[in-house]
Symmetry: D2
Subunit: 146 residues, 4 copies
């Protein structure tokens, strides 16, 4: 994955959450482990999904957002101790799926970028994204120009 330059800039993303690194994120090479970095992207996705789909809406609708695809670019080594800012925004919205773009920033440098495809499902499988959720996702789109 070669993300376009605007996706490596913090200002392109409507949301972000600060996630301090933990000693347990390190691996034997002394930098943040590739798999552990997945957990930072997960926090960004959860943050965006909580913003777009309030708990009541999810409980009422019985909808679940399942991950279908995760693509991560490792751009620089990330270090402990210290915080990582996980930036998140919506890249594309389809009929029953949407794509979240994420980027990790440490000391102002972009150390990684991720793209995740999520499918909205009920107990029978994929369903069309309801209008209210679609509007919420539209409001969290990435800003390509700024």
């Amino acid at each position: 994955m070669k993300p376009e330059p605007y996706r490596l800039q913090r200002a392109s993303y409507p949301l972000s959450v600060i996630v301090p690194t933990r000693f347990r994120d390190l691996d034997t090479l002394g930098h943040l482990n590739n798999v552990a970095l997945g957990s930072f992207y997960e926090e960004g996705r959860a943050h965006l999904n909580r913003a777009a789909f309030p708990k009541e809406m999810r409980h009422e609708s019985g909808l679940r957002m399942l991950i279908a695809d995760v693509h991560i670019a490792y751009l620089a080594e990330a270090h402990y101790p210290g915080d990582i800012e996980v930036a998140a925004g919506v890249l594309r919205i389809g009929r029953s799926s949407y794509v979240i773009a994420l980027a990790l920033f440490q000391n102002s440098a972009c150390v990684g970028a991720c793209e995740t495809v999520l499918v909205v499902t009920d107990e029978n499988g994929a369903v069309e994204i309801p209008p209210a959720q679609r509007a919420a996702l539209e409001g969290l789109k990435l800003k390509a120009k700024h």
Copy 2:
């Protein structure tokens, strides 16, 4: 990522390793967590790299294989308790990088597939893959037809 059908078949891969699931791999939805599944692919990569690059070769050469890109397709829910078979093979070999293809099998079903780009580096950055390592990687290629 939409992996070609042969990549969802165990027989296409030259290597595999059995990784039992752990309770800690579960998440609150009751199936194996997306990030935790990353750890299974990591075991497959480590297994292939140990086969291709014996410890002595790595120590002598001072080379490191750094992950540049990971792309995962989630194909079915995976469960605990039970084993996952992680199948691994080489998809492509470039000048200084190579691509490992991986797939997870549980109860004979392919529950996920992954593609990882690794770059061979020394302390100054990317280097050409040495001939012996290139030959080892060639010997571990995926079998598209079988």
Copy 3:
């Protein structure tokens, strides 16, 4: 915790489960991380609880086994790659709680021991351990002499 010598012997335990180490269990010091080792003990507990309390019994009774206390002695460094054998047995049984003793073996050496207090609860709190479960736990007691 200074476990009695018989608790460092594999033969003292009625049950065991093999858990291969994972690269992700390592920390920056190059050996298995203290917190990650907790996951091995968790597998031993889950194994024992599945043996003592079959799924149907748990569903029917609505009982949950909650962890109240975990005490771990780190006896030697543990390494990757390689398997760890997690041995498990019941140390003591109280009115509503019981104690599981565990030990980790790698290459025949005991690398750690653990003692966990679990409390049997329903939705209102601690309850007396039902007779069938008590009998099952009695059958999984550690053997002090052998």
Copy 4:
């Protein structure tokens, strides 16, 4: 472990660090997993050790602090999302070992307490704690009365 009441009070501890919970800390029961909670205590220990033993001191002396024993009391369920405050202080100091006391606070409630024995070692094994380090540890003692 039944920690004395003062150990469940935030004000007894000289140091603390805020660690946000992560989705990955949850388990299938919907609360923070027992093993994952170990990672919070690890952050508290690392925080205290960085305060007591500056990096230069550790590099110069070649000393390592190895964990010999961890004892955790689980006092209440902890939840996601939300922060956990990990409080840390020194409980006892021996010739070559010291004991760190820790407690976890979420929404002002103490949800867990931990006691960790660490041994100061060089490449030949346990060594006497150097005077400067001993003084630093003395300065980080828990306050039993306040």
